[in-house]
Symmetry: C2
Subunit: 197 residues, 2 copies
DNA sequence: TGACTTTAGGACCGTTCGGTCCTAAAGTCA
DNA sequence: TGACTTTAGGACCGAACGGTCCTAAAGTCA
């Protein structure tokens, strides 16, 4: 299809590797050197392919976010119930040790101050998409009578989203996993019994 | 008390102003220039007083954290109940518009990757201290029969802590305040009725 | 006055930043 | 072969980074 020498690397794989560094260190704290080392590319190739640091970051966000969304959808398909899926997500958040990283999308939401509006819009779009998966999970349980219907699935999904982000923060801050697990169980009681009246 | 020319600025006030910049932009993204501009000090004075950027940041954390803790304690004293206090805290989180900032301590927890262990310990200590105020609020309600005792106050406090951090993230990510308020109400139902059995 | 200290300001430091440009080699196609 | 494109590598850029040091003025005390 294309003439000339072909690419000697997989652009998406390089994006994955770079995303990993951004995820661990954030945008500002990640130097160009670190990006080159992580991607294995030369400066020429990286700029040719992705533009500049900012645009590279945006492409990372996009690729990473879609991967996460897909993983969530797959996880939901394989789960016995929406509640099981959500419990698994929260458990994963807690069990991932504190130091390295967290989720690139959530991290970026926290960083947003210094980044531009385009990035903010991207983050918001992914928040909505992640939440959509959670809503699907909840509505599925409602349809199966596992969850009382009067509770708005979207509001509940926001609680789960907040819990994911919040538990991650506490985990990063060095809170004990055992405690967080018990708190997690408390949160999940919201999925078991009517939340009002 | 001291000989020589006296300080021409209030060290704590300068710390407050500097904290504000760190809070909005984070450690890495905040330049020395920005710190000088915010504090109104000359480079000489700032280095003389606070050491270097990293140590300045740590002193900001300390001062900021203590201020927040005091504000929380005062808020609890004036509230009609522990639950009222917690509801007010969550409402404040949501109503503070997205763009500028959040809480320096929570932000730093998110940033922790690039910062050293001393900072991590400081963040954790404040998490514990903030949570202690929440625990006090919850135990107070339990003693007054407003909250069922079988629920461990500490676990519930972790849920609130996570909610604070998580709601802030969602808010930064541009989620609608009205929705977050409804989610907030859901979370608060955990304080109204027995969480298990 | 003299001892002391802080002040603002700027010179200066080496390093790193993100980013551009160029070159020569190498791979792929018609 | 010739056309085309990517490759790695390095030279180079101006700017900003955090940080140190020095000076001359100014304020406070005994």
């Amino acid at each position: 299809m294309s003439i000339g020498r072909p690419l000697s690397f997989d652009p998406e794989q390089a994006l994955d590797r770079v995303s990993e560094v951004f995820r661990q260190r954030g945008f500002e704290a990640t130097s160009l050197q670190a990006l080159l080392a992580a991607s294995g590319l030369s400066k020429s190739s990286l700029y040719q392919q992705y533009g500049n640091k900012q645009r590279l970051f945006e492409q990372c966000l996009e690729h990473y976010g879609e991967r996460i969304e897909n993983e969530m959808r797959r996880g939901l398909e394989q789960a016995a119930s929406g509640r099981d899926f959500i419990a698994a997500v929260l458990e994963q958040v807690i069990s991932e040790a504190a130091p390295p990283g967290g989720c690139l999308i959530f991290n970026t939401a926290s960083d947003l101050g210094q980044l531009d509006a385009r990035v903010a819009r991207r983050v918001n779009r992914f928040f909505v998409r992640f939440r959509a998966v959670l809503i699907t999970a909840l509505e599925q349980d409602q349809a199966n009578g596992l969850l009382p219907e009067p509770v708005a699935a979207r509001d509940l999904a926001n609680v789960i989203m907040a819990s994911i982000g919040g538990l991650r923060l506490l985990s990063k801050g060095g809170m004990q996993q055992a405690e967080l697990r018990r708190s997690c169980a408390l949160i999940l009681t919201l999925l078991e019994r009517p939340a009002h009246r």
